[in-house]
Symmetry: C2
Subunit: 254 residues, 2 copies
């Protein structure tokens, strides 16, 4: 049995606060790390403002191009939460308050408190599945190849638990990281380039750092074939040693 | 004298490590906060992998659509640093090693150490201006409405100092934040929506939080007219008080 080919995802982050610099996103990282063990690679991410036209255009571009799309943000009870409507518009379907979503809200909200704002969270595009939210109740939305998650990182993360069973993954990408204090990219760049050219099925990256304590680099190999990856790790260790630096090997997939 | 109309920017983050979840980006936030006082608003951001086709497509889409584009990542000395070549391809211009860029490298690198990998950092698209890098020397690239910055956050930030003088800004967006412990979005959502409808020139946002210490929300007003913004602040304070919660007012533009 051969593994399915590369399975890709895009992440669409929605919210003025991400573009103004008020908030530093962490959902992209959380989603990417969640998807990796399924063999699903995030291939692109976009961040757009709370603007229906912008959300619809980005969502339609991404859901066409990638196997899955994950959105975060804009499904709360306030006027700037317009993601559910934008998703319905992108899919060209209707949207209305749904009884099963209302009943979920009722488990945590008294009927007297179930005002118009809170009922917005039960507006679901036609044909969508609800995504369970074990943290705060109000559901996410699964429609077509799109998963609509909350913006609050803890809630988005909780919703992913009800996303996993609906994913069809591909070959899992393995990674090895070899670090070296004092490594200089300019010194090992040629050797790393030669290695990358020689092992075309493995993707090599170099990530330098500069801190008060000193400088160095992390060398990363990524690939799906375990045998090739073992060779890549060995080659990176050799490369670092050739620089006169002691290689420090992170746990796999760290 | 009237202020120029809205001036927009896009941020293009380049790097497999951002999409794999290995690295959590901070450059978008840094760039947005740097641009805000110039009256330049980040309107969209995209993250793409170290892939020339992906970089070219995103760059051409964004530089057409927004006043400025800022890229980060991919201008170092290793084989996966392909941004300079991708930028040249996007603009349809040539790229070659440039003497002024080499001379900048020579200020920090001995001639004997100026190997092929390091010389990659002197490859500059035709017609571009060099962006000074006070932190580590190797220059950024300014071509058309595009500013090509390093990926390492400290270096990207240092390069922005040589970007500011080349920007033409617009109306500066002011913001006010009013926080309230115990605020529930579902309870004030309707009132906030009415306020937003009444003050159409001000953009209102609501950002809930949930932590071990408790929950609450930050209410944010953003706009360019100081008189309107003063009214918006007053209205948010009233709204929070009406919820039986003590309003906490952040410093302006915090």
């Amino acid at each position: 049995m051969s593994l399915p080919s590369k399975v890709t995802a895009a992440v669409l982050l929605i919210g003025d606060e991400l573009l103004s610099g008020r908030t530093r996103d962490v959902n992209l990282q959380n989603i990417a790390l969640f998807l990796a063990p399924f063999g699903i690679q995030v291939a692109e991410s976009r961040t757009v403002s709370d603007d229906q036209h912008a959300i619809v255009a980005a969502l339609n571009a991404l859901r066409e191009r990638y196997d899955y799309v994950f959105t975060t943000g804009g499904i709360g009870p306030t006027h700037d939460d317009i993601t559910a409507d934008a998703v319905a518009a992108a899919f060209g379907v209707g949207i209305s308050e749904r009884e099963d979503a209302l009943n979920i809200l009722r488990q945590r909200i008294k009927e007297v408190d179930l005002n118009e704002a809170r009922r917005r969270m039960a507006r679901i595009p036609d044909g969508a599945r609800l995504i369970a939210n074990s943290m705060s109740g109000a559901p996410g939305i699964h429609i077509g190849n799109v998963f609509v998650l909350a913006g609050v990182p803890g809630i988005a993360r909780a919703m992913l638990e009800d996303v996993g069973p609906h994913l069809k993954g591909g070959a899992v990408v393995l990674s090895h990281t070899v670090r070296g204090v004092g490594l200089r990219e300019g010194a090992f760049g040629a050797a790393l380039g030669e290695l990358a050219a020689k092992m075309a099925d493995v993707s090599f990256g170099s990530y330098p750092y500069f801190s008060a304590e000193g400088y160095g680099a992390h060398l990363v190999a990524r690939g799906t074939d375990p045998a090739q990856m073992a060779k890549a790790l060995e080659a990176l260790v050799d490369l670092v040693k050739q620089q006169g630096v002691t290689p420090e090997i992170d746990p796999p997939n760290a």
